[in-house]
């Protein structure tokens, strides 16, 4: 379990994240949602230590998150963070070299599933194919948790369908998944739990099934209540 406790992050005097506390459990797909600029990406980056936090703690199974533990988490940012001169095969080779938990079989399966050309240079790929490579690199790690930042931003409907199919397949089975997005409609059917951010604070943290059963609402209705009161 990844546990985030009282996380604070500010730039100068401007608070971006205030008193954020929640957990990411295995076997759960969680959506971190909120309007633009509410701190979703900042929170993801704080969890991965890509920006320093002001205070608060982040632990994995009780141990402070350190760089040595990064192989337990796979972070899929909102863009393909590999040099553009590399080919798809070279990016896979880079990951295989640097990550002890790289799963080559899974990578080859995803390569075939996404219909990607190994010799294609990243600079020549479409945005949708770049997103697929991004997913391939992230999901081919045998991690316990997958963090995804805006996984569907700017990609066409067919690429989106391919990627969504991955969520319903074995690739993320039994894993803890945190998806940061404000396009709730695209991922609603995948979600177990929703964490809603507003102005850097958690305003609602609930299970999708509970809301549907107890209140008879769709998640989008809850969003309207929170963000358009």
């Amino acid at each position: 379990m990844i546990e985030i406790k009282n996380l604070q992050k500010s730039y100068g005097k401007k608070a971006i994240l205030e008193n954020i506390s929640f957990t990411i459990n295995q076997n759960e797909v969680i959506c971190l949602t909120g309007l633009n600029g509410t701190g979703k990406t900042t929170l993801m980056n704080c969890i991965m230590g890509l920006i320093p936090r002001n205070s608060g703690s982040i632990t994995i199974d009780g141990a402070d998150i350190q760089h040595q533990l990064y192989e337990r988490i796979s972070y899929i940012p909102d863009s393909l963070t590999m040099p553009r001169w590399m080919t798809v095969a070279e990016t896979m080779q880079f990951m295989a070299t640097h990550y002890p938990n790289w799963n080559a079989t899974k990578a080859d399966e995803l390569l075939a599933f996404f219909r990607l050309e190994p010799d294609a240079q990243l600079k020549n790929l479409s945005k949708g194919n770049c997103a697929k490579v991004n997913f391939l690199l992230g999901l081919s790690l045998d991690a316990d948790y997958y963090l995804m930042d805006e996984p569907f931003s700017g990609i066409d409907v067919f690429a989106r369908e391919d990627i969504l199919e991955v969520f319903t397949s074995k690739f993320v089975q039994d894993k803890g998944v945190l998806i940061a997005t404000h396009h709730m409609d695209e991922v609603e059917m995948l979600l177990d739990r929703i964490v809603m951010l507003r102005n850097g604070r958690i305003v609602k943290d609930f299970y999708a099934e509970d809301i549907r059963q107890t209140e008879g609402k769709a998640i989008i209705d809850v969003m309207r209540e929170v963000y358009q009161p």
Binding site: N45, M48, G49, L50, I51, P52, H67, Q68, L69, Y70, E71, Y75, P77, S79, L80, T81, M82, P83, R84, F94, T97, H98, Y99, P100
Partner: protein
């Protein structure tokens, strides 16, 4: 260690094209300097023959003296090749960081998310620059032998005076900077150079951590360090020291700056850096 070696190989692979271009540029400019110097000599000799005043080689030597290889190393194209290499290396030493921290698809995300110590990222970049510098020095030594062979082959035997390379190197300032004449000078210049590179990286990492506030803070600290070092070496305490003691004091300062800078850089990468 494994992560460092793998990242070093990756960085080196990335620098290959730039480095290849630099090697061709340096070798090309120096080859041109050899032929330029030969043509210059030939032109002046032929002009003397045409003038008819002293139309023998002996007469020419009486007026102009022997030609030796230092004519090539003092040629402006030769000096330019070394100065260009130094500027290109300085450029790449900065670019090796900013190429990963600028633009849309920042590789810094991946580098900082790799499992294991982040110091390997720093060490790999530093070692790449070190290898580029050392490689160029080795290339320069090799080029000097080849250029000397070509130049002595082009010049008439009676005009060319063979000088050992050890006595040619100090006559050219850029060359003596690239290849110091003695081990003690080498240690002095290169310990200063690598300390400066480390502190330069502290500037860059401060900028990548806390942006311009970091650069200003690093600038203030660097200025204080520099002024203290100068005061130590030029005045006060150092006036009681012998030259050799001053030399070792300077080496010690370089070493302290190198170690302190490396530790600060390690801390910044672990705790303060931002993508």
């Amino acid at each position: 260690m494994k992560k460092f070696m793998e990242l070093w190989a990756f960085e080196w692979n990335r620098a290959k094209r730039f480095y290849g271009f630099l090697i061709i540029l340096v070798a090309g400019l120096q080859a041109y300097a050899v032929f330029h110097e030969y043509r210059f000599w030939k032109g002046s000799y032929e002009r003397m023959l045409r003038a008819g005043s002293e139309n023998t080689l002996e007469g020419y030597l009486n007026n102009n003296g022997y030609i030796s290889f230092d004519a090539v190393t003092n040629n402006s194209f030769f000096g330019f090749s070394i100065v260009t290499a130094i500027f290109c290396l300085l450029f790449y030493a900065v670019a090796i960081w900013y190429q990963d921290w600028t633009g849309k698809d920042r590789f810094s995300f991946r580098l900082l998310s790799l499992p294991g110590s982040r110091f390997s990222v720093y060490a790999a970049k530093f070692a790449t620059i070190w290898l580029m510098i050392t490689g160029l020095q080795a290339l320069q030594i090799g080029l000097l032998f080849v250029e000397e062979l070509i130049f002595s082959g082009l010049m008439p035997a009676g005009v060319y005076m063979d000088l050992p390379l050890q006595s040619v190197i100090p006559t050219s300032s850029p060359l003596s900077l690239a290849l110091p004449g003695s081990f003690s000078s080498y240690l002095f210049y290169y310990s200063a150079g690598y300390a400066a590179l480390t502190l330069g990286y502290t500037f860059i990492l401060m900028h990548l951590s806390v942006r311009w506030r970091g650069v200003i803070l690093a600038g203030v600290v660097a200025s204080v360090l520099l002024v203290s070092a100068l005061l130590f070496l030029r005045t006060g305490v150092s006036s009681f020291l012998y030259a050799e003691e001053k030399y070792w004091a300077a080496i010690s300062i370089h070493t302290i700056l190198f170690i302190a800078g490396t530790r600060i850089n390690d801390y910044l990468l672990k705790n303060r850096i931002s993508v």
